[in-house]
Symmetry: C2
Subunit: 417 residues, 2 copies
Amino acid sequence: MALVDAPMLMALDGVVAQLPTDVVARAKTYLRLSGNGKTGAYSDPAGHLWVREAIASFIARRDEDSTVAPDPQHIIADGATNAVRIIMQLLIAGPSDGVLIPIPQFPLFTALISLCGGTVAPYYLDESVRWGFNVQNLEMSVQKLKDDGVTPRIMVVINPGNPTGQVFTRDTMEDVVRFCHEHNIILLADEVYQDNIYGADRVFHSFRKVILSMPSPYNTTSCISLHSTSKGAVGECSRRGGYMELLNIAPNQRAQMLKLCSINLSSNFNGQVMTALMCSPPVEGDESYPLFRKEYDFILSGLKERAELLTKELNSIEGISCNSVDGAMYAFPQIYLPPKYVARCAALAQEEEVAADARWALELLEATGVVVVPGSGFLQQQGTFHFRTTILPPQDQMMAMTSAIRAFHTKIMESYA
Amino acid sequence: MALVDAPMLMALDGVVAQLPTDVVARAKTYLRLSGNGKTGAYSDPAGHLWVREAIASFIARRDEDSTVAPDPQHIIADGATNAVRIIMQLLIAGPSDGVLIPIPQFPLFTALISLCGGTVAPYYLDESVRWGFNVQNLEMSVQKLKDDGVTPRIMVVINPGNPTGQVFTRDTMEDVVRFCHEHNIILLADEVYQDNIYGADRVFHSFRKVILSMPSPYNTTSCISLHSTSKGAVGECSRRGGYMELLNIAPNQRAQMLKLCSINLSSNFNGQVMTALMCSPPVEGDESYPLFRKEYDFILSGLKERAELLTKELNSIEGISCNSVDGAMYAFPQIYLPPKYVARCAALAQEEEVAADARWALELLEATGVVVVPGSGFLQQQGTFHFRTTILPPQDQMMAMTSAIRAFHTKIMESYA
């Protein structure tokens, strides 16, 4: 990216000789494809065609047994957050349009649904089955919506899950597809953690691949899938790179999405370059490949080790239970709070509005310096308490964190027994 | 920016010795300030504090006689387009909220007002006085709005103007401020072309400076000003860099803007670096200063020459008249279309919806290969026709373009006389 931003660096004495040949060649290719080096100019609002082609190739390699080739014209490369904004703007006209979102959820979704004036229709992930869910419950959610005069337009599925860390089985995914097809709902598949899989018995399947492998009519289900450069092994979240890919979306809806996208005039160039880099990593034979492979494996295996360690440590604390972190970057453990502690929180909450798990998190912070995000921020089953933490810190910091939580929560359990 | 993206470049043999010392020092400073080199991490949604401090210093230098120092906490550095989106989202609740926009206008504004469901309240710039305007007309626009039950919330002023190329006099600006203050309207000052001033008798004054220099109570007028890295001498429009600065905005409104901004989680890092670079250019004594000065002056003096040339050439074509391009990057000439030509366009328009100036532009394109933007896309006084063109092309291309327009329009004038 740096060479593309400042090609003059390649003209300095000795620079090119010190860099891997494939890196220099790639920078020159990207420069040529970006208006012959005019990288500061507006691009297509949906992103440079060469970037969308790199994304399409990535999808084709990932979903290798799919029968339908991804089409660059059905890809908008302007970040995943912008994608959600555009989708909500297009499909929500007012409170009679509903969006099914998983609880616990990632707050971006409720924020944008609120801004667009739509109705949030929660469906609950089931903590007792590794944050999976039952389609029967979805049918009930939809029936309730329809009774209230709300039409379900979109179903958000986050897989691997944030904050829950689950990875759905293929069976569950097929249930979701059938459900969306039967109710004429567009499936919004937030798949930004697709590289982050740790559970030994879980693999990532894209909804795109699952849909296309199903028999007619389910293979015509409408799906918009999101990916991002903010997660995975890349983790360059400040670059605002990412894309949405449209599958079985009506041409007039696609045209309107491009129109909404064009209000921004241009996708951010550096985010596009980052997305292209993520979608076409070095391959065997490239000079940069060994280093890439080493760094990639180091990052992913470290995350996997810490996912296992964090689950084990949290489950060894009395009053805390946690599903295995099968994917993504987070654990969402349940905290048992003694009734006396909850009663104290309720009494205090009359003065300031703080949920019991939010107070627990604040007191943890005061007592130990450890920051966690209270479960109430992600919504949760009534009467349960959770917090979100992450597998990102180095192992020694993580052990220090779980020790601190252990000491703090043990004291709560004793004091309010 | 490249050195900040890839600090490893500075570790290559001989690279640092070949670059200006201030450039390397600046890259190291920016790296240190951005989380000690963690440039891929999320920043504050409003932008890194050091970036907002660079912006505040820039504003203080630009408005040197202002009594109130700019506050980095009142700056949101996440691009100018995002800024407009946030402002409209905050201040428009529905059709009873009105936004005054200049006609001709930049289409971003009407697009976002429509998306937010607000009411567009046009005010007309007066072509006969170099695209200035009369506050009397504004009073009439507001009265009409109020009669319709619409509350005016925002007044958009684009100065220097797009597409009109005007630069307002200080008197006009003071009129605007008094008007906004009296009607309790927030002034949205789109000042992205502040570096692009060519008219010999016109200088750029920021609305911020004008407001703060006025007597009480006008110095408390609410104003949000926009600036961008897409224009000026920088012209890096694909980086999506820019900022809004809030003056006399109520704390609760500012808090809500930050909340809306935080939905995006993070401002784009490269756009922030570009904004910091624009706001703190090399200064005399820096090794990079002579080259910066040379390039800056070359770009700006070239634009000024072409602004004069374009006006002169267009005014020498029969049936075309054009105000001087005092600022920005565009000319917005009026085209006289013979009644017979307009009648033919009207007849054709029954089949496909194309305004007369849009058809003229299409026929110009077919006949000559020259692309201009029809005035109807920017809105204009009923019964007038315009097109927008730009002073950006090199001089020889511009002369070829005006010759082609001359030949084409002369033929129209003759054929439909």
